[in-house]
């Protein structure tokens, strides 16, 4: 850590946090000390199942339920952004400054941290009237692995929770956006990936305006 000089020999008269000489603080260490640093998939599946159950109490519509899952994920995204940037090596330790770096950061770093692999795709909306829409594609979202959505709720995608995390990351790095999850497994590619999910990231107009200015400069 070049920006945080370790205090040598003067720790008694200097107040504040002390940093080890290696520069690695406790925030660099994962909570889980095992080599693989993985959590139990079954425990997560049961926990998430209860979260969905909790979110579906007294709901008016499917959008309501997705909104609630989104809200549950949002603070995780905000906090995760700080943690992941802090763990980056010092020279790349800046927050993403344009849309492409931000989306790339989400696709690689955030996905790697949460699910142990990068997302399967990143695309810009092909519709020229919607330049503010980007798509992050996951062929088999971890949260949906054991979930079968009943027929009468067919528009529901429980990955709205992950969409909330992505939204939190975008909001935290000052790129306000609306993120929604959509199932696209039923189309022609559906045979291979029935759970294929697209996270549609729609940035706020001011973000696009700023991006325009930055592009010119």
């Amino acid at each position: 850590m070049s920006n945080l000089q370790p205090v040598k020999g003067s720790s008694k008269d200097q107040p504040g946090l002390r940093y080890p000489t290696s520069g690695k603080t406790i925030y660099h260490r994962p909570l889980n000390r095992t080599k693989a640093a993985e959590l139990s998939g079954a425990s997560f599946a049961y926990l998430f199942s209860e979260m969905v159950g909790y979110a579906s109490k007294k709901i008016e519509s499917i959008q309501d339920l997705e909104k609630r899952l989104n809200v549950q994920g949002h603070p995780i995204g905000l906090k995760l952004l700080d943690l992941l940037l802090y763990r980056e090596p010092p020279r790349s330790q800046t927050r993403p400054l344009n849309i492409i770096t931000l989306l790339h950061f989400i696709k690689i770093n955030v996905w790697q941290h949460l699910f142990g692999r990068a997302a399967d795709g990143l695309e810009k909306s092909s519709d020229p009237t919607k330049p503010d829409e980007y798509m992050i594609i996951d062929n088999e979202p971890l949260v949906n692995r054991y979930i079968s959505v009943p027929k009468d709720m067919s528009q529901l995608n429980c990955a709205a929770y992950v969409a909330g995390i992505v939204e939190g990351v975008c909001d935290g790095s000052a790129f306000p956006a609306r993120v929604t999850a959509h199932s696209v497994g039923k189309q022609e590619e559906g045979e291979m990936w029935p759970g294929r999910t697209v996270f549609l990231v729609k940035f706020a107009p001011e973000v696009m305006e700023r991006e325009g200015y930055l592009g010119k400069g």
Partner: protein
């Protein structure tokens, strides 16, 4: 001629039918009512067969006494394993294997008489059930199973078994 795994039935702990599916074509189909009757009847028969072995409890008590005598102390009471009831039924046309889970859900697998390793197959089906049914937030306990992912995983697993022979 159909070979391999022919049909699967899942019965809940109250004896109600919660899942039935046939594999392979050309099988005579039962109507829904007959399936319900079959599930209920089997549940009753299973309960009777679970109490048909009077020797098991007796032998257990004898063993306990013997152990107490050799140890020279007071016998430590222990509960015998609950009797398992009907496990396999074989006819000249098919073989029926029953797997009773600890919570009383029963898996019935109908195979042809030459099928091997049915207990492993039925274990794997139980695995799929505990993954894709029990971890699904939209499944209500003891109710009929309508889970798309379970259907899909089960189908591909059975197809794999049936085509490998």
């Amino acid at each position: 001629m159909n070979l391999g795994v022919l049909a699967l039935i899942v019965i809940n702990k109250a004896g109600g039918l919660i899942y039935n599916r046939t594999f392979g074509d050309g099988l005579n189909q039962l109507n829904t009512n007959d399936y319900l009757v079959l599930a209920g009847t089997f549940h009753g028969v299973h309960a009777i067969t679970a109490r048909l072995n009077p020797l098991k409890g007796l032998m257990h008590a004898q063993q306990q006494q013997q152990a107490a005598l050799t140890a020279g102390g007071v016998p430590i009471p222990s509960r015998p394993d609950p009797p398992s009831g009907l496990e396999v039924m074989e006819t000249e046309n098919f073989r029926l294997q029953c797997f009773n889970t600890l919570t009383g859900t029963k898996f019935l697998l109908f195979t042809d008489t030459m099928q091997t390793n049915v207990d492993i197959t039925i274990r794997k089906i139980y695995d799929l059930y505990s993954d894709y049914v029990m971890k699904n937030p939209f499944y209500q306990l003891e109710m009929p199973i309508r889970c798309e992912t379970f259907d899909r995983k089960l189908n591909s697993y059975i197809r794999e078994i049936n085509s490998s022979r």
